[in-house]
């Protein structure tokens, strides 16, 4: 009798286990029954999240967003979409230094793939070869130049455009009597820097250039963005000469890179010495927003920080106008770099149709209004008529209209190049541990060892 009782107990335990295990199994199965393309298990997780509210029709989609700063706007869009179509969209935002590709790989291993997720460029897309849905048939694909296309088809949905150039404080340049349009070559820059440097106290400047090289948290600024100018500045959008050279075993064009190195040396000469080696991104943007630097070596994304986190100091400095000049390290370079910083891709085994429909909806007027006016994006779609209030939006549009933009290709650099190699060399160059020729030589060697090993 006792034994029977024990057996019953054990049986009950096993059954409750089965019920738990079955719970996960059924919800995954449920999504596969709903989405004809076969479930990825994501249906179960999105339905169980609190924001789901149980109102979804069971055909929800999940989007992994790499820009945490626009989380609120995307959630608003998701809600609008749900009200309109009844499809629930789950927004999962990551950012602030999280390795998104690493997390996504974890999701993949756990069969917990989102239906739409962010990809940063060639190397990211290469990870997912054969796993992404082709969207070339979508209506939006013919409305933009910025979609990501590879041999799998049109796999990347562009949502914004960012620019890399030497950002400047227009008010200070005007007071100093420097016309940004004249900054077309290294000599012009040297003269202008010297002139502004002489008037530093008068203009309330700490330094002429906010150039930061700290290698632990800010390697991406020097290693990716400043370096990107060597790869692309002045070239037409489809010109990949120097990128191809780099991809071929990490080679650098010595003549061009030497000129680039001289320009970096010029930036260092007029940089803020107390922060050049170990300052943080926050300090860099705050000082620029407070009007303490005339130039800053960051791209258009700092506009969002200036008008939110640093809004108080920016207002105190008079909400000055900003602009961008090319990194003209060689005479004749007259382009800034603009590109989609990342794309949204649709997972092939996810809820493909619903995901495609949502992306198409994002290009409609009402969705673009939120993306542009509230999230501050610069729309990559030709049909969009909104202009963001972001301080840099007008500059980017001007350069685009004048055709003076280059693409950027650093997203295709070998992974880890900036973080593990070049960022550190920029940091070594800054305090004068090596001269310009030494910098060029070390860079050549370091790039070669990155691509070689």
């Amino acid at each position: 009798m006792k034994k029977l009782f024990a057996l019953l107990l054990a049986g009950a335990m096993a059954l409750s286990l089965a019920a738990c295990g079955g719970g996960g199994g059924t919800s995954a199965g449920g999504s596969s029954a709903g989405g004809a393309a076969g479930g990825s298990g994501s249906g179960g997780s999105s339905a169980s999240t609190p924001s789901g509210g149980g109102s979804s029709s069971g055909e929800g989609i999940r989007l992994v967003n790499g820009k945490i700063e626009i989380d609120a706007q995307l959630k608003k869009l998701a809600q609008m979409y749900e009200e309109e179509t009844g499809t629930h969209v789950e927004i999962e935002s990551m950012g602030g230094g999280i390795d998104i590709q690493g997390t996504l790989k974890g999701y993949y291993q756990a069969a917990n793939m989102p239906d739409i997720f962010v990809n940063g460029g060639d190397t990211d897309f290469a990870n997912w070869k054969g796993l992404l849905a082709d969207m070339s048939g979508e209506a939006w694909a013919s409305d933009t130049d910025s979609a990501y296309v590879n041999e799998d088809g049109t796999v990347g949905f562009p949502y914004t455009v960012e620019a890399v150039g030497l950002a400047y404080n227009a008010d200070i340049l005007e007071k100093a009597g420097v016309d940004p349009a004249t900054l077309t070559g290294p000599q012009a820059f040297a003269d202008a820097f010297a002139k502004i440097d002489g008037m530093k106290d008068e203009l309330g400047l700490t330094a002429v250039v906010g150039y930061y090289t700290e290698p632990v948290n800010l390697y991406w600024s020097t290693g990716n963005h400043v370096f990107a100018n060597y790869e692309d500045a002045g070239l037409s959008r489809d010109d990949t000469t120097y990128f191809d050279l780099l991809s071929d075993g990490g080679k650098l064009d010595e003549a061009r890179f030497t000129k680039f190195a001289e320009f970096v040396a010029l930036l260092q000469q007029y940089a803020d010495n107390s922060n050049m080696i170990s300052g943080t991104y926050d300090q860099q943007i705050l000082n620029f927003a407070s009007g303490k630097y005339a130039f800053v070596t960051q791209g258009s994304w700092i506009g969002a920080t200036m008008t939110s986190d640093d809004a108080e100091q920016y207002a105190a400095a008079g909400n000055f106008k900003v602009g961008m000049v090319p990194y003209a390290f060689e005479d004749g370079i007259d382009t800034i770099l603009t590109n989609s910083p990342s794309w949204w891709a649709v997972y092939k085994d996810g809820n493909v149709d619903a995901a495609k429909a949502f992306l198409q909806w994002l290009t409609t007027d009402e969705a673009q209004e939120v993306l542009v006016m509230e999230a501050g994006f610069i729309s990559p779609f030709k049909s969009c008529t909104y202009v963001a209030t972001d301080p840099f939006a007008q500059t980017i549009i001007d350069y685009q209209n004048a055709g003076k933009t280059s693409a950027w290709h650093w997203l295709g650099n070998k992974e880890g190049l900036a973080q593990n190699y070049t960022g550190q060399v920029f940091n070594d160059f800054a305090p004068g541990k090596m001269d310009t020729a030494g910098f060029v030589k070390v860079m050549q060697q370091v790039c070669a060892s990155c691509y070689g090993g």
């Binding site: 049986g11 096993a14 199994g25 990870n127 632990v216 948290n217 593990n420 090993g453």
Partner: protein, 351 residues
């Protein structure tokens, strides 16, 4: 009796065979990529039936063995799932071109050869060994000194014990960022040339050691305190009567009495220093340059082994190569642990 015996035998066989069939069936379904929702229950019921069949198996001589095995199953299963299977998978992946998502071919020992040809990896190996040596000595010295202080008759000893132990309760990442701020924004004001300690490889390496000691010495101190208070009072009293001064008591009485504690602490610091990752990552993330090491300019001056593995896999996206390094890491640590067990056993015999 006879009929119930055959009935039981029959039931047991049915359960065993049925359970095994369900188990194999559900696994086969899974491997074939079938997403049917009944896979989970099928698996669990299969296992339950199989176990029940084992339990009911009509044997008197082996019954005890079967029961023992049944009780071991949860542990064996957990051990297999969390240790054995990942280890085998890891070793397998280290011999492929795995990207973290999929692999296309088997490369044999290729990753291991690449690994030893990589100068930056050799550098990481060397500085890890250096780091371990420095820390084994310094953490134990500092920890022991603090323990002596905290077992003396000073006022407020309880407070000091807690205060020294406190840094150990803070996570390494937080600690790393706190100290990064200290080095980059506070100490820089005091230095004459305005260069942060973290921007030069030797000083950055020293900085990691300092932070690590700060974090870990309190923990080691607690263990030493525990050892020191177990030294019998009568032995100390006898030494005092014999005219031994404090120093002699320390060298001749206390240290020999806590020899086993010293062994434990040495190995604790050894393995934990070897596995150092979080402080390293938060403080310098392996940056720092080396002008010329085996003819190369290195940019991973302070990158220790664990961080090197992480960066190889995650930031350089070479999962297979990182996996190969991790296997080597495992072998080294396993050797250290085996030696530790050996030494500890020997000591116990002597005592």
């Amino acid at each position: 009796m006879e009929s119930s015996g055959t009935g039981r035998k029959l039931l047991s066989l049915v359960l065993l065979i049925g359970g095994a069939a369900l188990l194999v069936g559900s696994l086969a379904l899974d491997f074939m990529g079938n997403r049917a929702s009944y896979r989970g229950p099928m698996l669990v019921i299969g296992v339950a039936c199989f176990l029940a069949g084992l339990y009911l198996f009509p044997t008197l001589t082996r019954h005890k063995d079967i029961i023992n095995f049944l009780f071991l199953i949860p542990l064996l299963f957990t051990f297999a799932v969390t240790v054995i299977i990942p280890l085998c998978l890891g070793i397998f992946y280290s011999m492929t071109d795995w990207t973290g998502i999929q692999y296309t071919k088997f490369v044999g020992l290729g990753n291991y050869i690449t690994m030893f040809k990589e100068v930056s990896f050799l550098w990481s190996l060397i500085i890890t060994v250096l780091f371990v040596l420095f820390n084994m000595i310094l953490v134990n010295l500092v920890g022991f000194a603090l323990a002596l202080l905290c077992t003396s008759r000073l006022k407020g000893v309880g407070f000091f014990r807690a205060a020294y132990f406190l840094p150990n309760l803070i996570g390494g990442i937080v600690l790393g960022y706190v100290w990064q701020f200290v080095f980059n924004n506070v100490l820089i004001q005091l230095s004459s040339n305005g260069v942060s300690l973290l921007s030069n490889t030797p000083t950055a390496f020293a900085a990691i050691i300092v932070v690590y000691i700060w974090q870990y010495a309190g923990y080691i101190m607690l263990i030493y305190v525990n050892g020191l208070v177990t030294v019998p009072g009568d032995v100390l009293e006898a030494a005092a009567i014999d005219g031994a001064n404090a120093f002699t008591t320390l060298i001749r009485i206390k240290i020999p009495m806590i020899a086993s504690t010293i062994t434990i602490c040495t190995f604790l610091t050894l393995t934990s220093a070897f596995k150092q990752f979080d402080v390293n990552m938060a403080l310098t993330n392996g940056t720092g340059s080396v002008q010329d090491f085996m003819g190369q300019y290195l940019t991973n001056g302070t990158q220790m082994l664990a961080l090197n593995i992480y960066n190889t896999a995650i930031s350089k996206n070479s999962y297979a190569l990182g996996q190969a390094k991790a296997v080597l890491f495992f072998i080294i640590l396993a050797c250290v642990s085996l030696i530790q067990v050996r030494v500890s056993n020997k000591k116990e015999v002597e005592m």
